[in-house]
C-alpha cells in the first residue's frame, strides 16, 4: 500500500488506502473524520504515523509538481490547522493541559504559518521549474526565448500577473492570521489589557500626525510632479535651442560674412530653409539609399547645392530603391544638372515624379533657352549617354522635348516589372 500523492488532500493516506481497497477516497476520508472525532483525536495520531510510514507513490515528478502548483496553500494550511486542533484535543484528553485559551490562537497561528510555508515552497519550486523549462527551451530553439514567458513551452499554466496577485493576498492573509493569533493569545492570557491603552494612544497619535502632515505630503507630491514637468519642458527648450544654434544661427553668421556674394547667400538661405522645414515637419528621416522618392529629392537638393539653381522637387508616391530605379535617379540627376547649368536664370527647375504600382515617371522641366535635340552639341554628349542610353539599358525610356527659346522638358519612364 502506498500513499496516493496524485489524489491526496493532506498526505494521501486516505487516498492510498482507498486505492488499496478499490473504493472512492471520499469514503475513507469521511470514515477517517468520523473515527477521529469518535476517538477524541487519537485516530489523528494514527494518521500522522501512517503518513510517516507509508511510502509515497511519487514516481512522476512532473505530475507531482503540476499537482502542487495547482492546489494552492489553502487546503494544506486548513488541514494543518485541523491537525493541530486534533493534536491539542489529544493532549487535553491525556490531561497534558494548561489552559483552553490557547486553542484558537495556536490553531490560527498553525493555519497562517502553514499557508506561508506552502506558498514559499511553491514559489521556489516554480522558479526552479521555470529555469529548467527555459534551459530546455534554450537548447531546443533559440527562437523560443524571444517569446513572452507565458507562451514558452514547459512553464506552468498559471498566468504571471494573476498568480502573483493571488499569492500576495494569500501571504497577506497568512501574516494577518499569525499576527492575529499572537494578539488573541496575549488577549486571552490578559497581557493585552495593559498594552491596549498604550496601543490606543499610539494609534490616535499616529492618525493625528497623518492628518496634520497630509497637506504637506500632498503638496510635496504635486511639487514633484510640477518639477518633473518643468524639467521636461526646459529639456525640450534646450534641444530646440541647440538645434537652432547649430543650424539657423550658423547659417545667419555665414550669410553676414558673405553679404557681398548674393548667389552664395541665396544658396545658404535655401539650404537652411530646407533643413528647417524637414526638421519642423518632424517626419521620419529621409532614406535616400532605400526609397525612390527620397533619392529623387536628395538628387534635386544636391544639384541645387552644387549649381546654385533652385530646384522644386515634387514627388507623388514612393517605392523601394532597386537597380533600375537607381538608374532612373542617376538619369534624373543628369537632366537636373543640365537644366541647372543652362537654365538657372529663368526661374526654378521643376522635377515632378509620379511613382505608382511599380512604375515611375519623372519630368524635369526648365524655362531655359532650349535647344534642338536633333543637333545635340558636342558639350551635351552626356544627354545621349547618361540620360537616354542609361534609361534604355535598364528597360526604361527617356524623351527630350525642346525647341530653341521654349525651354526643355525631359521625361523619364520606367515601367513595372510586370509585377
Amino acid at each position: 500500500m502506498r500513499r496516493d500523492s496524485r489524489r491526496a488532500v493532506l498526505g494521501g493516506v486516505c487516498a492510498g488506502f482507498a486505492r488499496w481497497l478499490g473504493i472512492d477516497p471520499i469514503i475513507t476520508r469521511v470514515g477517517m473524520v468520523v473515527v477521529a472525532i469518535g476517538s477524541s483525536g487519537v485516530a489523528v495520531v494514527g494518521y500522522l504515523i501512517a503518513w510517516a510510514l507509508m511510502p509515497s507513490d511519487a514516481g512522476e515528478p512532473a505530475r507531482r509538481r503540476e499537482r502542487r502548483g495547482r492546489k494552492g496553500g489553502w487546503r494544506i494550511a486548513g488541514g494543518v490547522a485541523l491537525l493541530v486542533i486534533s493534536a491539542l484535543l489529544v493532549f487535553r484528553q491525556l490531561n497534558l493541559w494548561w489552559s483552553d485559551a490557547v486553542v484558537w490562537p495556536v490553531a490560527l497561528a498553525a493555519f497562517g504559518v502553514a499557508l506561508l510555508w506552502t506558498l514559499t515552497r511553491q514559489e521556489a519550486e516554480q522558479e526552479q521549474e521555470a529555469s529548467e523549462a527555459e534551459a530546455e527551451a534554450g537548447m531546443r530553439d533559440a527562437d523560443t526565448r524571444a517569446m513572452p514567458a507565458q507562451l514558452r513551452p514547459g512553464t506552468p499554466a498559471e498566468p504571471g500577473g494573476w498568480w502573483r496577485a493571488k499569492r500576495a493576498s494569500a501571504i497577506g492573509f497568512g501574516v494577518a492570521l499569525v499576527l492575529g493569533a499572537a494578539l488573541l493569545f496575549l488577549w486571552a492570557v490578559g497581557a493585552l489589557n495593559a498594552v491596549s491603552d498604550v496601543a490606543l494612544a499610539a494609534l490616535v497619535v499616529a492618525v493625528a500626525i497623518g492628518l496634520i502632515s497630509a497637506p504637506f505630503w500632498w503638496g510635496m507630491a504635486r511639487r514633484l510632479g510640477a518639477e518633473r514637468m518643468a524639467r521636461a519642458r526646459s529639456q525640450e527648450r534646450a534641444e530646440v535651442a541647440a538645434h537652432l544654434h547649430d543650424s539657423v544661427l550658423q547659417t545667419l553668421a555665414l550669410m553676414q560674412k558673405r553679404a557681398g556674394e548674393p548667389d552664395e547667400v541665396a544658396k545658404l538661405a535655401r539650404r537652411q530653409e530646407r533643413e528647417l522645414r524637414s526638421w519642423l515637419a518632424g517626419g521620419e528621416p529621409a532614406r535616400p539609399s532605400e526609397r525612390l522618392a527620397d533619392a529623387l529629392r536628395a538628387a534635386a537638393e544636391d544639384v541645387e547645392e552644387t549649381h546654385g539653381a533652385p530646384v522644386d522637387a515634387i514627388v507623388v508616391g514612393d517605392a523601394p530603391l532597386d537597380e533600375r530605379s537607381k538608374a532612373l535617379v542617376a538619369a534624373a540627376r543628369e537632366a537636373l544638372t543640365n537644366a541647372a547649368k543652362f537654365a538657372s536664370d529663368t526661374g526654378p527647375v521643376h522635377l515632378y515624379a509620379e511613382i505608382e504600382n511599380g512604375s515611375a515617371r519623372v519630368f524635369i522641366d526648365d524655362r531655359g533657352p532650349g535647344f534642338d535635340p536633333e543637333a545635340i552639341p558636342g558639350d551635351r554628349r552626356g544627354v545621349r549617354e547618361s540620360i537616354i542610353g542609361r534609361m534604355e539599358r535598364h528597360g526604361g525610356r527617356a524623351e527630350i522635348r525642346s525647341e530653341p527659346g521654349e525651354g526643355t522638358e525631359v521625361e523619364l519612364k520606367l515601367e513595372g516589372n510586370g509585377r
Partner: protein, 215 residues
C-alpha cells in the same frame, strides 16, 4: 472683371505685410492690413475686400479661424492662403476651411497679383506643391462601395491638369499643351478644389481630424 482687385492682407509679421504691399503696387489695391484674427475679422467686415490674402499661421487660431469667423457674416468672401509652410496638413486644412487657393511666400509679385485676380474671379489657385499634395491624396483606387465618384476621384483630365501645375506650368501653357482654353483649365482646377473641400477620402479626413477641424 479685369479691373484692379482689392485685398486685405492678414499676416502677423509687419515686414511681410509691407513687402506684399510693395510687390502688389499698381496691380492690386490693398485696402488694409491686419495682424491678428480679431483685427482681421473686423477689417474684412468693414472694408469688404474682394479677396483676403491670408497667412496660415497666426497667433489665436490662424487663417482657419479667420475664415470660419468671417464666413458667418460674409459667406461669399474669397480667401487666398499665403504661407511659408508647405506642410500638407496646414495646406489641406486651410483649403478645406474654404480658401480658394494656396501659394507659397516665395511667389513673385506678378504671380501673386495673377493669383489674386484669379481668386477674385471665382477660380482656384494651386501652387505646384498643392497640386502634388492633391495628386498624392487622391492617388490609389478606393473600394467601389466607398467611392462617391462625384467627389472622391479625379477625372483623367483633372489629373493631367494637376500634373502640369506640379511641373510648374502656367494655366496658359497648360491650355496650349492640352489644346483647351485657359477657362477650361480654370474650370478643371475649380472642380478639383471642390473635391478637395468636400471629399471624405480617408487621406483628407485624416488631415482634418488631426487638425481638429471635424469632430
Amino acid at each position: 472683371m479685369s479691373s484692379t482687385p482689392s485685398v486685405v492682407v492678414v499676416d502677423d509679421h509687419r515686414i511681410f505685410r509691407t513687402g506684399v504691399k510693395a510687390e502688389l503696387e499698381g496691380m492690386v489695391e490693398v485696402l488694409g492690413e491686419a495682424e491678428s484674427v480679431e483685427d482681421a475679422v473686423r477689417a474684412i467686415n468693414e472694408l469688404e475686400p474682394e479677396v483676403v490674402l491670408l497667412d496660415v499661421h497666426m497667433p489665436g487660431g490662424g487663417g482657419v479661424e479667420v475664415i470660419e469667423q468671417v464666413s458667418k457674416q460674409r459667406p461669399q468672401q474669397r480667401f487666398l492662403a499665403l504661407s511659408v509652410s508647405d506642410d500638407p496638413e496646414d495646406v489641406i486644412a486651410i483649403v478645406r476651411a474654404g480658401a480658394r487657393g494656396y501659394v507659397t511666400k516665395t511667389i513673385t509679385g506678378e504671380e501673386l497679383a495673377a493669383a489674386v485676380r484669379r481668386v477674385r474671379d471665382g477660380d482656384a489657385v494651386f501652387s505646384p506643391r498643392l497640386a502634388g499634395f492633391v495628386l498624392d491624396a487622391f492617388a490609389g483606387d478606393l473600394p467601389a462601395e466607398e467611392v462617391d465618384p462625384e467627389l472622391d476621384q479625379l477625372t483623367a483630365r483633372e489629373r493631367e491638369v494637376l500634373r502640369y501645375i506640379a511641373r510648374g506650368y502656367l494655366y496658359k501653357e497648360i491650355g496650349l499643351r492640352l489644346n483647351i482654353s485657359v477657362k477650361t483649365v480654370e474650370a478643371h482646377v475649380s472642380s478639383v478644389l471642390r473635391k478637395l473641400q468636400l471629399s471624405n477620402r480617408h487621406e483628407l479626413s485624416r488631415w482634418a481630424v488631426e487638425r481638429r477641424l471635424v469632430d
